[in-house]
């Protein structure tokens, strides 16, 4: 019996034809989760008691899913993979969890993330490193590491992550699955533990673009608990997937996608990655897309990562100021409240997190705020303005999703190299502008999955999914799970 490496609509068919029951799916999912846990460490919590008790007809009814452990789940441990929340059991469900529950989907486990969703490696969670199902020596990437791994492993057909810089789309690329985050506000963030509120998005891992569209239809909508959530619209995303895309225009950024722009042009992996990308571009053209190369000021691109760090750390230091151990979480010790909070935060956060808080605090200080935090916000605006200007002519931005294949665990990277600085960080454009953005598996380099990313205009989730669906159809990696996994 093996059903959970299928796509949502394939599983739906089997359920409807009574070839499998929801209970069997849940059991398969939980069994697999346990089976792979020691090796890959996808989960903080596996819900052995998960049950299906919903009468209704939605596409995901009776299908198990995994949830990043930074979504609030009533009565279920939610740690954000941090020691400071290692005992925290929320009293409320996030809006997305309520919606999934109401649709009959069955939560089977909470997945490991980089501590407090701050990280890109999946190695900093308080319960250990999440490994890449394609190669255990490698990272799956973060911060939504366990969710990416659980879909790549075939434990669940879909899993929720969160995406503040690229935290869904990058691990999706490393895991050979689809990763999508819709327009900022399309889906309520209520109950998603805030990392950087102006950049945080709900996102998900699936095995097909269509599955991502199904989930968007279920999860979208105005939430009275999230003022940034967008008004309801009548668009049914899944029904627009087949729309004709002939004549749609895409662009890619010359400075990122051409090997000539790099100092080291001999790197085989980089060459193979960019070749893969240009093959995809060719296929897009064959599909009827017009794809053009656009040049963007290199200084602006170089400023992406530092600006992201300034803004995200600043918001993070404030957003996580509620973690004091006073009302919930790791209880601190001390003779007065200051000592108690100090102790809880000293023991509760890893060094890595403290470093980010210090950076965030530093850039917000009165004497630094204009030069650092506010300048970063200005850079953000300039980049978004530039992309929006290009979006007047183009329907989407297509780029490689990552700077290479999934790195070896604990390998060092030169964060200031042009490869890392721009190729490895351009996905943040999607967060800066709140654009819908999706990563699609596009092939292999050295036996490891690589991916392309498509970013569309703000609010145009439908068109973005429509274009991605068409591209997916000629790439041939729909429904992919990690090869070689027992």
């Amino acid at each position: 019996m093996k059903y959970l490496d299928l796509t949502i609509d394939e599983i739906r068919n089997l359920l409807d034809r009574k070839e499998v029951t929801s209970d069997e799916l849940i059991k398969e999912s939980i069994d697999k989760a346990h089976q792979y846990q020691e090796e890959y460490n996808s989960f903080v919590t596996i819900l052995d008691e998960a049950k299906h008790n919903y009468e209704g007809s939605t596409i995901i009814n009776g299908i198990p899913y995994a949830l990043k452990d930074n979504y609030s789940t009533k009565g279920i441990l939610t740690t954000a993979s941090s020691n400071i929340l290692s005992n925290y059991v929320p009293v409320y469900d996030a809006t997305v969890v309520q919606k999934l529950n109401k649709s009959g989907a069955v939560l089977m486990g909470k997945t490991v993330l980089d501590e407090l969703a701050m990280g890109d490696s999946g190695t900093t969670g308080h319960t250990g490193i999440v490994k890449n199902p394609w190669d255990k020596k490698r990272i799956i990437g973060g911060s939504s590491a366990g969710s990416a791994a659980s879909v790549a492993l075939g434990i669940v057909p879909f899993a929720l992550g969160s995406d503040t810089g690229d935290s869904v789309r990058k691990p999706a690329a490393y895991g050979g699955v689809v990763g999508f985050k819709p327009t900022y506000g399309r889906i309520s963030r209520y109950g998603l533990f805030a990392f950087a509120s102006s950049l945080d998005h709900v996102g998900y891992f699936t095995r097909s673009v269509k599955d991502a569209a199904y989930l968007t239809d279920i999860l979208k909508g105005k939430d009275e608990r999230d003022m940034t959530s967008l008004p309801d619209n009548d668009e049914v995303y899944v029904s627009g997937l087949e729309n004709d895309i002939k004549g749609r225009k895409l662009f890619y950024i010359k400075e990122v996608c051409n090997i000539d722009s790099y100092q080291d042009q001999t790197d085989e992996e980089l060459k193979a990655l960019l070749n893969n990308f240009h093959e995809v571009i060719e296929k897009c053209r064959q599909l009827g897309f017009i794809v053009e190369e656009v040049s963007i000021d290199r200084d602006l691109l170089n400023a992406l990562y530092p600006s992201y760090m300034c803004i995200s750390c600043a918001e993070a230091t404030s957003n996580n100021a509620n973690l004091t151990g006073i009302l919930f979480g790791l209880p601190g010790k001390g003779n007065n409240v200051d000592e108690i909070m100090f102790d809880a935060r000293t023991r509760g956060f890893s060094e890595f997190i403290k470093r980010r808080f210090i950076m965030g605090s530093f850039v917000l200080q009165k004497e630094n705020q204009d030069k650092l935090f506010l300048n970063a916000s200005r850079v953000r605006r300039m980049i978004v303005d530039k992309i929006n200007e290009l979006f007047k002519e183009y329907d989407g931005l297509i780029m490689p999703s990552s700077e290479g294949v999934a790195p070896i665990i604990n390998s060092k990277k030169d964060k200031l190299s042009d490869r890392y600085l721009i190729l490895g960080n351009h996905l943040v454009i999607g967060n800066f502008g709140g654009f819908p953005s999706i990563s699609l598996p596009s092939g292999f380099v050295n036996g490891l999955p690589v991916s392309v990313n498509l970013t569309g205009r703000q609010f145009e989730d439908g068109l973005t999914l429509n274009m991605a669906y068409k591209i997916e159809s000629v790439l041939g990696y729909k429904g992919q799970v990690a090869k070689g996994v027992k």
């Binding site: 509120s197 509620n322 004091t324």
Partner: protein
């Protein structure tokens, strides 16, 4: 001698249905931790949602204080750690407050002063803490209650001015109906900034902030103590330290809490979870139209247009519903002075005696009008009217019924009174002689008529007839 310079920061909780950024009930309760929501507890994943009523109320007070309003509503985060602040930051307004550059006219000892308002902003209250020897308790009922903070310029110069301003501000808040502004429930609290400067100095002295004083009396005491303390320090050649002090209401002294040198950097930045709310002209106009005429304007109207004394005018406007009652009474031309007299004497006396509010009594402005009219028309005497008014208030029946029941009416019949007067004069001939000699016995004759008529004779008419009849003799 030194010149005293005072600036106030006044906090006032708003009376909205729900809290400022959550759906929890906004109310006061003796039972701790019953009015709360995930948001007020600062749980991970919560998001603030702006309260439209709170926004409207804050804008309303800003307008009533003659402030300029912003083009949009935005909020900022003020970041600091304290157990009464569950989110680790307070949502407030630093970049675009609800109002800036306003003023409030205040009457101090019959003189009008203009108190400049630096700004008014909307923020949220913190939880409340109770400290015990071994532990502290946190009550989150107050956490997230909408709070407006009104900051004056350093333009007040005595405790008297400060208190007059606070009273006037409180009245604006009450008139606008946005808060009960009860200091005893902590709904209105005040920080006092105070410094002394030499009479001829051009720069302010070093200021000291006295935090969180929760009654006007204590504000007065704190200011007076602080003036005394700073004067002593300066006179003995010392310097004032920039610091935050607290007022101890047991020994009426202020004590240093912390120096301002190591002041916290609150790292204000824009609250990212609440997109800017554009303020349209229509929206602002609608709020403006809901501001009633305020105390200061009403006092001037009553004095200048209705000819009332400042004392009576001030008494009438103390509460908006009293002023409204008065205005309702005189709206169709009833004499303002008469109306004011009835209200400030008997009605107010009744309210005080029975501890009731003007809108809880049986007597409506219309009834008062009919009573005054009966007197004016000579149907009953003012003495009778007084009796009727008491009965109306106590027996809760309208004046006409009371007049009927008591059988009181005024004897207006000239013949009837005249024959009575003739009889009385006949029986008191010596007194007429006394009267002619200049002795004041006139009231005796009137008294006799009243006695016979049980007070029902029209006193004016009676006096006229007595005069005529004496002269005839």
């Amino acid at each position: 001698m030194y010149k005293v310079v005072i600036g106030l920061e006044v906090h006032c909780e708003l009376k909205t249905k729900s809290k400022n950024f959550s759906y929890a009930t906004n109310d006061y309760s003796e039972t701790p931790n019953i009015y709360l929501d995930t948001v007020d507890l600062g749980f991970p994943g919560i998001l603030p949602v702006a309260n439209k009523e709170a926004v409207k109320s804050a804008l309303k007070i800003a307008m009533a204080l003659n402030c300029e309003n912003p083009d949009e509503v935005i909020f900022d985060r003020k970041n600091y750690f304290y157990p009464d602040l569950p989110k680790g930051y307070q949502i407030t307004q630093s970049h675009k407050p609800m109002g800036i550059n306003g003023y409030l006219m205040v009457n101090v000892d019959d003189e009008d002063i203009k108190v400049d308002i630096h700004d008014l902003h909307l923020e949220e209250d913190t939880a409340s803490l109770d400290h015990f020897n071994e532990y502290s308790l946190i009550n989150y009922n107050r956490s997230g209650i909408p709070l407006i903070e009104i900051v004056t310029e350093p333009c007040l110069h005595s405790s008297k001015e400060a208190i007059a301003f606070l009273e006037a501000l409180r009245s604006v808040i009450l008139y606008c109906g946005v808060s009960d502004a009860r200091s005893d429930l902590g709904q209105m609290r005040c920080d006092v900034n105070i410094s002394l400067m030499k009479e001829d100095a051009t720069e302010f002295g070093t200021k000291v902030e006295i935090k969180n004083i929760n009654s006007f009396t204590k504000v007065k005491e704190a200011i007076e103590y602080e003036i005394e303390r700073q004067t002593e320090v300066l006179n003995s050649g010392g310097t004032i330290i920039m610091e935050t002090r607290r007022f101890d209401d047991e020994d009426m002294k202020t004590y240093s809490m912390r120096s301002k040198v190591d002041a916290v950097d609150y790292k204000y930045f824009l609250e990212p979870n609440m997109p800017p709310i554009k303020l349209t002209k229509e929206f602002l106009d609608e709020i403006r139209s809901q501001i009633p005429m305020l105390q200061y304007e009403r006092i001037n109207l009553y004095i200048n247009e209705y000819g009332l004394s400042r004392y009576d005018a001030t008494t009438l406007v103390k509460e908006k519903k009293m002023a409204d009652y008065f205005e309702e009474t005189i709206k169709d031309g009833t004499d303002a002075k008469l109306a004011s007299n009835w209200i400030t004497s008997i009605v107010l006396g009744h309210l005080n005696k029975f501890q009731v509010e003007i809108d809880q009594i049986y007597l409506t402005p219309a009834m008062l009008v009919s009573l005054i009219k009966m007197v004016n028309d000579g149907k009953i005497s003012s003495k009778q009217a007084k009796e009727v008014l008491y009965k109306v208030l106590e027996e809760e029946k309208d004046p006409v019924t009371i007049v009927d029941e008591l059988g009181i009416k005024q004897i207006e019949n000239d013949e009837e009174i005249r024959s009575m007067v003739v009889e009385i004069l006949d029986a008191n001939l010596p007194l007429i002689e006394e009267y002619r000699k200049g002795r004041n016995v006139f009231d005796f004759f009137v008294g006799q008529v009243m006695k016979r008529t049980k007070g029902q004779a029209n006193p004016t008419l009676t006096a006229k007839i007595i005069k005529e009849e004496i002269e005839k003799r």
